[in-house]
């Protein structure tokens, strides 16, 4: 008996919700899956960030690019039949010096594993300096906002959108701090969905995060330990 998409998503510890009336799934790999458009969205991958540091004389271990790609593979293995488009919400490459043969080689090899997948990059602030992805990766590059159905796909959160369009962006690297009894506190990356727009957690391995200020009307899901948890709201 074929396993249904829902079962597969639940087994992968994804959580379903609705934004702007659209059914979506939040994945513990820090990605958003939009079944109706057969799209998988990630933000702020910052490929080659470690390489950019090394180029400036800072020793950063190898392996972050491979770890990023492995997480993409992990999701695509579950969703290959259900995803046509992988969308990067900005900051695909970290810097000019991220265009290192080793980084680009790893990306090419990965691209060859998923030849039919359509890749779209919504250009972000880092992409402006780092330049668009090389031709052979076959990435379609668009400017923000890229309107798809009721969603406006962006990199930065303060883009003006037409009325009725719900924004979805990256750039912020959102995190929240949970507090519990016994003075417990924990800071975790999160999906942050406000009234008129939402923010995805940063996907990249070697990226920091920003603690979001309190906002009464936002829905938040934290990510950690291979799970997604809805908090409050």
């Amino acid at each position: 008996m074929p396993v249904t998409l829902e079962t597969r998503l639940l087994n992968a510890h994804a959580i379903s919700t609705h934004i702007a009336g659209e059914a979506v799934w939040l994945l513990p790999q820090k990605a958003l899956f939009w079944p109706a458009q057969r799209m998988l969205l990630v933000a702020d991958v910052h490929f080659g960030k470690a390489a950019a540091y090394r180029a400036l004389g800072q020793p950063v271990p190898h392996g972050t690019t491979q770890a990023n790609l492995a997480r993409l593979d992990e999701m695509l293995a579950v969703l290959a039949e259900d995803v046509d488009t992988l969308v990067f919400l900005g900051d695909f490459l970290h810097a000019k010096s991220s265009r290192h043969p080793e980084v680009l080689g790893a990306l090419e090899t990965w691209r060859a594993r998923w030849p039919a997948l359509r890749l779209v990059l919504v250009r972000g602030n880092h992409d402006v300096r780092a330049g668009d992805p090389p031709q052979n990766l076959r990435v379609t590059v668009v400017s923000e906002p890229w309107i798809v159905g009721p969603l406006g796909l962006c990199h930065e959160p303060d883009v003006a959108l037409p009325g009725g369009i719900y924004g979805l962006c990256g750039h912020v690297h959102p995190a929240v701090t949970l507090r519990g009894g016994a003075r417990e506190r924990m800071r975790l990356a999160c999906f942050w969905m406000g009234e008129h727009g939402g923010i995805l957690p940063a996907f990249g391995e070697f990226t920091g995060s920003w603690t979001m200020p309190a906002h009464a009307r936002a829905r938040v899901w934290v990510v950690g330990g291979g799970r997604v948890f809805a908090v409050g709201g």
């Binding site: 180029a55 800072q58 190898h62 016994a182 727009g197 995060s209 309190a214 936002a218 330990g225 908090v231």
Partner: protein
């Protein structure tokens, strides 16, 4: 070489006589020793004339001559070459030292030149020094190391015949001292006959201090104690019941402090942190507006010019009082100072003594230290400190053991200077006391790190800081890397700081970037004794104007919180033991007696033979309070260890609070403390292994990594006001990010190992931890179930700076937290959680820490047309 016996040669005794002074025996002893060619250490308190003991002898030994006749000015080019290097730990002291050293040169019209080389030295002066160094150079450990990074300067330094290290006690125990040890190793190699002298205040291990400085070579210790009279007392609160059980500020004592300041000519008011100094200065000014202009504030984050003004006014005697931090611990004497107030614990016996010595400098006058407790238990501490000083129980300071981050920095420095061949440099480095036991493996690792960023297996080919050239000499091939290394030399780590400056006007000082980031334009904050309003932030500068408001935020500066010393702890337990036996000797103990009676009634008073544990169940969870009196660092280690060991039986997350008296472990899990407090829990078996495990379960090692990452050049520290440049800003990533990426992708990196080792040694003081565990095993455990927090427990309960330690699986822990929050939100159970404050984000009163990675990612002003909430 013997001193030339020419008639025109300088004679210390004659110079003293010409001023009508009589030398102390220790000064004569030092003169003889230096003139005979010895190295050594002079052990004397500030204000005793130790500078004359060394300097006059140096002038004599190295043949300073009178210029006769002297219509011609001494010129840099005609004066003798570099002969003496005088090292001072603080830039701020350099100018004062120069003034003192210049006195005999000028009054005796000697042919020597003298100049400063510090971070404040102008570029024209630096250029002049590059052409020719003065006969005597006054500099800091950092500036000396910077000179070693330039080949041309090394040739000139080779001519130095004597190095004097002032305030050696401030350097011996830290990495700045290690950096200096390495620089001295180089100077000794350039000139094996180099004479080295140290000046040190009171230390418990003075012979070791000499050995470290002289790298084991023979040398004298000259005792310079001149037995100045000392008076130590305590300001007592008028009524104990109004006096707080806990708290850090002690403003309750304001009226008495004002009276004390009124009584003396000039008073130095010491606080333990810069924030407290700001708050106390403001409180004094609010209470006594007529003191505006008569009192001042002084701390390390204020601009040089501001501090210079305060110091000059102090010397001139125009100030009634200066509220200060350790920034005034060192340096020249402020003769008008009659009295020193220490607000809060002095933390150590030697420190209390040192601060006392800042007063009463005129001959025949008394040094006077008055301790001002900020909460009740500090009355006991004051009694203990007084007793320990009277009996001469002083602290020891030990040098760090082969810190690899400092070594890595040194390798790049030397490669930049003359370049090096590994076998030769290894031999040289091993002559430094801290690296005597450097192994071949550690050396190879350090070479590998500067060459390819790690051991050969995890080589980073793009990265090459240092490489051997065709001749096999290791050098730095990249000019940009060279510049960056030079601007980053040093071992003092601080958060990225921002200049505070009046709009179109003067610089006031610096605050940490993270503090300004939490303010919005229009917000007020207290700085340099003024209430300032933030106008805007421009690059790394916060532009401000005087605020109209009277209330505002107070910046906090990070920096290790000092642990109180074993000596002070022991003295304190002694006082408590007497109290437990009903004996209250001295005014402090009599004042605190009613509170200790409460402690006795509700629980018990700890003694040398009993270990007190208090168990309390509150709506917050299960509390364990334990009082080993071993200082906050050891308590942190003990608390982590206990938390981890308990977690092996039952996964749990603990919140840990520590102070110098004890620690608290708090958990929402259902733990039965009395049943768990077994001898095995406190055993010192598998200590290191268990502590290492507990480190991985907590956040300590990550924080220590921050310093190591910066010193080894892993994280670039921007410079306030320099703008940094684009490539500099691209390198600003948080060390926690580095820590995570190293842990995941290069776990065997030795810098990580060093972070762990340093946590063990410095943060947790494992040797002391082991000693404490052994002592605790010999003590009878006294478990008290208490109904409410006791006088000893209360300060821990309200401690806001907490560590956490978890043995739960991450997903389980989040699930539990989320479930608690849901219950709180739906109004069920757990009344300790305020649903509205805790459901989401941080409550406004909690300090917000923000990790940043890019430095360029602006904080979101709005999310799709909607302003932030």
């Amino acid at each position: 070489m013997n001193a030339p016996a020419s008639t025109s040669a300088f004679d210390p005794a004659a110079w003293f006589a010409s001023r009508g002074w009589t030398p102390f025996p220790f000064q004569q002893a030092t003169w003889q020793s230096i003139i005979a060619g010895d190295s050594g250490l002079l052990h004397a308190s500030t204000g005793s004339g130790k500078t004359w003991a060394i300097w006059l002898a140096a002038l004599a030994r190295f043949g300073a001559k009178k210029i006769e006749p002297s219509p011609l000015k001494r010129t840099r080019m005609s004066a003798p070459k570099l002969t003496v290097i005088w090292i001072t730990p603080m830039r701020a002291l350099a100018a004062d030292t120069a003034k003192a050293l210049a006195e005999p040169i000028e009054s005796a019209q000697l042919d020597w030149t003298l100049s400063l080389r510090t971070g404040d030295t102008s570029s024209s002066e630096r250029a002049a020094q590059e052409r020719r160094l003065p006969t005597a150079l006054i500099t800091t450990p950092e500036s000396l190391t910077l000179m070693l990074s330039k080949a041309t300067q090394q040739d000139a330094l080779a001519g130095a015949r004597m190095v004097v290290v002032d305030e050696w006690h401030e350097l011996i125990g830290n990495k700045r001292g290690v950096q200096l040890q390495l620089a001295l190793a180089r100077l000794r190699k350039l000139n094996p006959a180099l004479q080295i002298w140290g000046l040190s205040a009171t230390l418990g291990n003075i012979d070791l201090a000499r050995d470290v400085l002289l790298a084991g070579a023979p040398g004298r210790v000259v005792q310079g104690d001149i037995g100045k009279p000392l008076l130590i007392d305590t300001l007592l609160p008028p009524r104990l019941e109004r006096f707080p059980w806990a708290g850090h500020l002690g403003i309750a004592m304001l009226p008495q402090v004002i009276d004390a300041i009124e009584d003396a000519g000039t008073t130095l008011v010491f606080l333990n942190t810069r924030s407290q100094a700001e708050l106390w200065y403001q409180a004094l000014l609010n209470a006594r507006p007529d003191w505006a202009g008569l009192i001042a504030v002084h701390h390390g984050s204020l601009d040089r010019e501001v501090r210079d003004w305060v110091e000059a006014s102090l010397k001139a005697g125009t100030l009634k009082a200066v509220v200060c931090t350790s920034s005034l611990d060192l340096g020249v004497d402020f003769v008008p100072v009659e009295r020193v107030l220490q607000i809060g614990s002095p933390k150590g016996v030697a420190r209390a003594l040192q601060r006392a010595g800042r007063s009463g400098h005129q001959p025949g006058r008394t040094s006077r230290l008055t301790m001002v407790p900020t909460h009740s238990m500090e009355l006991v501490e004051a009694a203990a400190a007084r007793h320990a000083i009277a009996t001469g129980h002083l602290e020891t300071r030990l040098p760090p053991n082969k810190p690899l981050d400092v070594l890595v920095q040194h390798l790049v420095t030397i490669a930049l200077g003359t370049g090096f061949t590994p076998p030769e440099l290894l031999a040289e480095v091993r002559t430094a006391w801290s690296y005597q036991a450097l192994t071949a493996e550690e050396w190879e690792w350090a070479l590998g790190f500067v060459r390819q960023g790690g051991s050969a297996l995890t080589a980073y080919p793009e990265y090459r800081r240092v490489e051997p050239d065709e001749a096999g000499i290791w050098r730095v091939p990249d000019a940009a890397l060279a510049r960056r290394h030079r601007s980053n030399i040093g071992t003092i780590v601080s958060d990225a700081s921002m200049v505070v400056q009046y709009m179109g006007g003067a610089r006031l000082g610096t605050v940490e970037e993270g503090f300004i980031a939490r303010l919005a334009p229009g917000d007020a904050f207290l700085f340099g004794g003024r209430m300032l309003e933030l106008i805007r932030v421009h690059e790394m500068t916060a532009l401000v104007r005087l605020a109209k408001k009277s209330k505002g935020a107070v910046p906090r500066w990070q920096g290790g919180r000092m642990s109180f010393s074993t000596e002070l702890a022991d003295a304190m337990v002694e006082q408590l033991e007497l109290a437990a036996a009903g004996e209250f000797a001295g005014p402090e103990m009599q004042a605190v007696a009613p509170l200790l009676q409460v402690q006795q009634d509700w629980s018990a008073i700890p003694t040398r033979n009993t270990l007190l544990a208090e168990v309390w169940h509150s709506r917050e969870g299960n509390h364990l309070f334990l009082y080993p009196f071993a200082g906050r660092h050891v308590h942190l280690g003990l608390a982590s260890l206990l938390g981890w060991r308990v977690g092996q039986h039952q996964p749990a997350t603990f919140s840990i609070a520590v102070n110098d008296y004890g620690f608290e472990l708090l958990t929402s899990a259902d733990v039965d403390w009395p049943a768990l407090l077994t001898p095995e829990l406190l055993s010192d078996e598998h200590l290191l292994e268990d502590v290492l495990h507990s480190l991985n379960a907590g956040e300590l090692a990550q924080r220590r990594f921050r310093e190591i990452a910066r010193i080894s050049g892993l994280v670039f520290q921007g410079h306030p006001g320099s703008g940094g440049g684009k490539s500099a800003r691209q390198l600003q990533a948080s060390s926690s990010l580095f820590y995570e990426v190293f842990r995941k992708h290069d776990p065997s990196n030795l810098l990580l190992t060093q972070a762990q080792t340093e946590v063990l040694r410095q943060e947790l003081e494992t040797t002391r931890l082991q000693d404490s565990l052994q002592r605790m095993q010999g003590q009878a455990l006294n478990i008290q179930r208490v109904q409410r927090p006791t006088p000893l427990g209360f300060p821990l309960l309200i401690e806001r700076f907490r560590e956490s330690m978890s043995s739960e699986k991450l997903a389980d822990r989040i699930a539990r937290l989320v479930a608690t929050l849901e219950r709180a939100a739906s109004g069920e159970a757990d009344p300790s959680i305020d649903a509205h404050a805790a459901v989401m984000f941080m409550a406004p009163d909690m300090p917000k820490k923000q990790a940043r990675s890019g430095g360029r990612r602006a904080r979101p002003k709005r999310v799709f047309g909607h302003t932030r909430g």
